[in-house]
């Protein structure tokens, strides 16, 4: 390892220690804000993990998030917490595999349409199940989890999502995805099982999103389908990842932080027009920053590296 690497590792470690100690110093408002920031950082990074290399736009974040939250509402009282999280992760992965196998062999368009409706579909199925089988629609969340616990779990999850992303980029799967991104036909003829690679990545991404939903569930004391399956989350995550640039591991996090703050501010100050403003922000990003902050950063640093600009 070079000295810069060692310095980077020390800096990240120190940053994590400071973050982990945050609940001791921050008051309730800042802790809650920090939780929101971490939540969206993990969600957007997990989204970018799949949608970055494959360029499939997934609008299914809400579906996985909601399933995670609902699993806690159903099982939180009955089972030990780690077991609940494990089940949530397993169900999230299973759902992703089913959705992935049935749609990822088709074109990207079909995938978008399916994920667009997935949250609504799962919500309807949950309502149907609750009305017909358990005969209750809303549920109280009784688990012994404090705000501090939520913060620490999310911090752990954030570290995990970056570590996994870093490992994937250096693995055979990561190399396979780069080839798929370049030319899918060539990828197949190199012996890459394209569907398997995509489905695996989608499942990994979905596990993280489901876990965020599960971890966040104790924040509400009462859950019903319309709360757990709030479609705005899917949309917010896409905007964040786009702003930062989904083709880089660190990109979505860069987008998540300012936009979380903006959305918090908007929903507090202008609740009536927040949807409109979100839309305008979204359009601005699509038109002005098509490759996100990460893309802008690459262009700037490339220009610096090649001092006399080369004619393309």
């Amino acid at each position: 390892m070079s000295p810069t690497h060692i310095a980077a590792v020390i800096a990240v470690g120190a940053g994590l220690v400071v973050l982990a100690l945050l609940p001791r110093y921050a008051d309730a408002y800042y802790l809650s804000l920090a939780i929101s920031l971490l939540q969206f950082t993990v969600l957007a990074t997990a989204w970018g993990l799949f949608s970055g290399p494959t360029r499939y736009v997934s609008l299914a974040t809400t579906a996985f998030f909601g399933v995670g939250a609902y699993i806690v509402a159903v099982l939180g009282e009955v089972l030990a917490w780690p077991l609940v999280l494990l089940i949530a992760a397993a169900i999230g992965a299973l759902m992703a595999v089913i959705v992935g196998i049935s749609t990822l062999r088709l074109s990207g368009l079909h995938f978008v349409i399916f994920t667009f409706g997935l949250a609504e579909l799962v919500r309807q199925l949950v309502i149907w199940y609750e009305v017909n089988k358990t005969r209750v629609l809303g549920r109280y969340v009784f688990v012994d989890i404090t705000q501090n616990d939520i913060f620490w779990q999310l911090l752990g999850l954030a570290v995990a999502v970056f570590a996994i992303g870093w490992l994937i980029a250096r693995s055979r799967l990561g190399f396979a995805l780069r080839i798929i991104g370049e030319d899918e036909t060539v990828a197949k003829h190199c012996g890459i099982n394209v569907t398997l690679a995509k489905v695996t990545l989608f499942a990994i991404s979905a596990v993280f999103i489901t876990l965020v939903g599960a971890i966040m569930a104790p924040r509400w004391t009462y859950i019903e389908p319309s709360i757990a399956f709030n479609p705005t989350i899917s949309f917010q995550v896409v905007i964040m990842a786009l702003l930062g640039g989904a083709h880089r591991l660190w990109g979505p996090a860069v987008g998540a932080i300012p936009l979380t703050l903006l959305f918090e501010f908007l929903s507090a100050r202008f609740p009536a027009t927040s949807t409109l403003i979100i839309g305008v922000v979204f359009l601005l990003i699509v038109y002005a920053l098509p490759t996100g902050v990460a893309g802008l950063w690459e262009r700037v640093s490339r220009r610096r590296a090649a001092a006399p600009p080369v004619q393309a």
Binding site: E120, N132, F235, T273, L283
Partner: protein, 289 residues
């Protein structure tokens, strides 16, 4: 049973009507419009406003709302979507870009409607006179809407298949590159097709508002149904729209009657995936070599 089939056909007709505009926008102009349902609901609100505020019959309202839909779409295509068309290196890139841009547009239109009308549900009573047909009773407004939907569909079909202009539009849908070679102005044809789709969705919005309750946030579900119908039927194919719309409506109504009304969406999705697994290009889509 007859009741379920009848309801299913009416519903399917409505789906086909809703999807016709989208199949033009996506099939010809290659714009995957995620804000489609929002424009439909906006037309519903316009019709509501004309009817309650100005006592204007929705059928006359069509004469105002449809041209506005056409005009707004032209402006949108010219100023918001043309830059994306120019920027896009490939068809796939345009698809992703237009998807994201219209996704933002969806929030904007929805946000405007939320600030103007709030989140409540709206409906108005027009021609809600019971009529008996084939032993089934239904409201006259539904029947009128269905009849007009059939009329619009036929008019569009004739215009696309029997006129030079329509042939040019279909040529752009099949192969924009080749269309350019036979001196078709692809850019303005795309703009026109997008706007024609906008006019169709405005018409659909007015007709639907005569018999459905709607709110500022009901657009998403219309977009979803329209997308399913378009992709299932084969992109850019009007006949496919009709068949897929009817299939969707019938399956939905049969399941609601005989199985469980809570499972309609699940059936929609199952049908959608089932069709695509057998025919990836849709029922009437051209298979790719």
């Amino acid at each position: 049973m007859t009741n379920a089939i009848f309801t299913g056909l009416m519903l399917g007709g409505m789906y086909a009507l809703i999807a016709m505009g989208l199949t033009l926008q996506y099939g010809v102009a290659r714009i995957m419009n995620l804000s489609y349902g929002e424009f439909l609901v906006a037309a519903s609100f316009a019709s509501y406003w004309l009817f309650t505020g100005w006592a204007l019959n929705p059928l006359l309202g069509l004469a105002i709302v449809v041209p506005i839909g056409f005009g707004v779409s032209i402006v949108l295509y010219r100023f918001l979507l043309t830059p994306l068309v120019r920027r896009a290196a490939t068809r796939d890139a345009l698809e992703v870009d237009s998807l994201l841009a219209t996704f933002g547009m969806m929030f904007i239109v929805q946000g405007i409607m939320l600030t103007m009308f709030g989140g409540a549900y709206f409906s108005y009573s027009f021609l809600s006179i019971p009529v008996t047909l084939f032993g089934e009773t239904l409201a006259l407004n539904r029947l009128v809407a269905f009849g007009l939907a059939v009329l619009f569909g036929l008019a569009l079909y004739v215009a696309l298949t029997r006129t030079r202009f329509g042939t040019a539009i279909r040529a752009v849908a099949v192969d924009p590159q080749a269309a350019r070679l036979v001196a078709i102005d692809v850019t303005s044809m795309s703009a026109f097709a997008f706007a024609l789709g906008g006019a169709m969705v405005a018409a659909a919005g007015v007709l639907v508002s005569m018999f459905l309750t709607f709110s500022a946030s009901s657009g998403v579900i219309f977009t979803m149904k329209a997308l399913m119908v378009v992709v299932m039927g084969g992109v850019g194919n009007l006949l496919g729209c009709l068949v897929a719309g009817l299939a969707l409506g019938l399956s939905e109504s049969l399941v609601a009657t005989f199985v469980d009304p809570g499972l309609t969406l699940a059936v929609n999705f199952a049908l959608f995936l089932g069709v695509l697994l057998v025919k990836p290009a849709g029922l009437f889509g051209r298979a790719q070599r």
